[in-house]
Amino acid sequence: MKRGRERIILYAALSLCAFLTVFPFLWAVLTAFKSYEESIRIPPTFIPENFRLENFRIVLKKFPFSAFYANTFLMILFVIIFQLCLCSMAAYAFARLHFPGRELIFWSLLALLMAPGQIFLIPNYETMVKLHLADTVTALWLPKVFSAFGTYLLREFFRGIPRSLDEAAILDGCNYFQIYLWIHLPLIRPALSSLAILTAISAFKDLMWPLIVNNSMDKMTLSSGLSMLIGEHTTIYPQVMAGGLIAVLPMLLLFFIFQRQFIEGIATAGIKQ
């Protein structure tokens, strides 16, 4: 009996939390169907008076969503591939190899983490212009191929691997690269997937960089393209929400497919093995 009551309380608390999490999203979805006048009405209406599809039509006409999807997909893919390769190699070197100045280099790398990202905006932009890459899809991902955070994260995981494994591998005739590739990488797979997920999320969310480096509408990512719906004085929120919904649907689908990996990836990021 007592267990039953505990259960009820637990479920009530969990439902409340779930509701609080879902509510803003629900609000956004419902707003997408409202007229502008209804969206700013006070007191606000929750359920739209009538479900109008007009906002979706306007937004789909205004933006090249297929280009947005393609650019976002390419950007995320390249960022993940390069970050996993470069960060894991660097992290392995910092964790296992002995070379002069290793600590100094590592700590100066970490100093990068302390600098706010905006500092790199203008230098990165100038580099892209000099490489004749401004206003291209390549510019979206090129400056993001490496991160100090990823290196730091993976180094911590590499350091957690017992050295006896390395010794055994050396006895079997492995060189450093083979140890990295055959022994260490498979062991830190959870860390790699968390890094992939975290980089993908941060690349997806970044709207400043695409807007700075690219001019053409068809070279924008989903998030930066949508931010163009924000007007100077007035923002037609139902259109923003409609655009947001179109942008987020495929991501939601991906999330449901990879839900397990996603949650495990984030959960393991904090655990040293």
């Binding site: 502008y36 006048e37 700013i40 009405r41 006070i42 007191p43 393609a70 650019n71 997909f73 390419l74 893919l77 390249f78 905006l121 203008i122 932009y125 100038e126 212009v129 000099k130 401004a134 291209t136 899809v137 390549t138 709207l207 400043m208 807007l211 700075i212 001019n215 053409s216 509408m217 068809d218 931010s227 163009m228 719906l229 924000i230 007007g231 100077e232 004085h233 007035t234």
Partner: protein, 416 residues
């Protein structure tokens, strides 16, 4: 797993190839390419039409319209200027002195003289705003004025007499008190607590000033300026206007459009919203109430500026001349985008329900939005302190004294 990865990768490679080789827009071989950057999404459709017309008249010029949202516009402009890849023609606002003094904008005086364009065809304060050290660095686009809008239905319902031109601040307070006595449901007075639609007007109307004529001295600590802040806080204290907390949660305009407010101080740049209200025929405009030194409005507005490093300046000038000419102004006016700064095009600006004469009158008696080299810096100081005054963390006297000092420090820095 491996197969899937290969498939994804090759797909991506194909996509990126496609992205790289996508055909460039075809134009005639000898065409000049210009880029033109704006920040307001709402105005984009009109500008696309304007550019289409321009290209029809100038088949050798190909204009690409770029949209960068307001919150990224200035960062992008700075970055692009540094890398010499900024747009050829772009929108400018009160930040003009900063860019003009750095030599990043092309002075237009030579072109104006050559084409015989007289700046007195434009409203004087708008033309003056894009002048810096005696030279014209931009062509005025439109102008914004501030006036008071009221809901006739509410005044009728509660039997309060509607505001009339020539009314005073005291009249406004009296009407607000009458409305408040009859209904607790509505806010008698609303405004957005930003400088332009609110306190910058009242400061000047009370005999204070933000910058003096030389632009080297601020008068934010003057009695008139303190008076303006005190009056706003008083409206809140008496419950005639929602307090800062409510106004920062919900925009004054939104409350007004939801029929929750009787009177609203609002800029002309939001006029097109009123037509969306569904009760537009119940909204009327009236000049702001008179304070001690008048009821003049701050006038803001944008201009078109040319990049000093632009490759083809003749073509860029042609575009600017077209944009600031009669035809382009008419198209914007008809869409109620902007009140044209070009006087001969003002006739095309007609609002559906409100009396536009009120707006033009405010335009003629108004004063330009103050600006200087470090305008962005001191504007920030003013809006920070104003926020504290309205939230009652500081008294108007304390806030104004602190603003006076900090803004003056910034102005002094400009001189060195």
């Amino acid at each position: 797993m491996k197969k899937m990865l290969t498939a994804i990768l090759s797909g991506a490679a194909a996509l990126s190839l496609f992205a790289c080789t996508a055909p460039e827009k075809v134009g005639s071989a000898s065409s000049v390419k210009l880029t033109f950057c704006i920040w307001d999404e709402v105005q984009q459709p009109v500008f696309e039409r304007i550019i289409e017309k321009f290209e029809e008249e100038n088949p050798d010029i190909d204009v690409e319209l770029q949209l960068t949202p307001w919150s990224q516009y200035w960062t992008k402009l700075d970055a692009a200027m540094g890398a010499d890849s900024a747009a050829d023609v772009f929108w400018m606002n009160t930040f003009l002195p900063k860019y003009a003094s750095a030599g990043l904008l092309e002075a237009l005086d030579g072109y104006l003289e050559k084409d015989g364009i007289a700046m007195d065809a434009y409203v004087a304060s708008s033309a003056g705003m894009c002048r810096y050290e005696g030279r014209q660095y931009g062509m005025p686009k439109g102008l914004d004025t501030v006036q008071l809008f009221y809901n006739k239905e509410i005044f009728r319902e509660y039997g309060v007499e509607e505001p009339k031109p020539g009314w005073t601040w005291e009249d406004m307070v009296k009407k607000a008190e009458e409305l408040k006595a009859k209904s607790s449901e509505i806010y008698p007075i609303l405004m957005e607590l930003d400088p332009q639609p609110s306190y910058f007007n009242f400061i000047v109307q009370s005999g204070g000033y933000i910058l003096d004529e030389s632009g080297k001295k601020t008068g934010l600590g003057e009695p008139g300026s303190i008076e303006a802040y005190r009056d706003i806080v008083e409206l809140m204290d008496q419950g005639l206007m929602p307090d800062a907390r409510v106004l920062s949660d919900t925009k004054g305009t939104d409350l007004f459009l939801s029929k929750k407010g009787a009177m609203l101080f609002m800029g002309s740049w939001k006029c097109s919203l009123l037509d969306q209200a569904g009760f537009g025929d119940q909204i009327a405009a009236v000049p702001m109430p008179l304070r001690e030194k008048g009821n003049q409005s701050v006038i803001g507005g944008l201009s078109y500026a040319m990049n000093a490093n632009c490759k083809d300046k003749e073509a860029a000038w042609k575009l600017i001349r077209y944009l600031s000419g009669e035809e382009a102004n008419r198209m914007q006016a008809e869409e109620k985008i902007d009140i044209p700064a070009l006087k001969s095009a003002q006739q095309y600006y007609r609002a559906e329900h409100i009396d536009t004469a009120v707006l033009f009158e405010a335009a003629n008696s108004g004063f330009p939005y103050p600006t200087s080299l470090l305008a962005a810096d001191w504007n920030q100081v003013i809006s920070d302190y104003s926020g504290k005054i309205f939230a009652k963390e500081l008294s108007p006297e304390e806030g104004c004294r602190a603003m006076q000092k900090e803004v003056q420090d910034i102005l002094d820095k400009e001189q060195t």
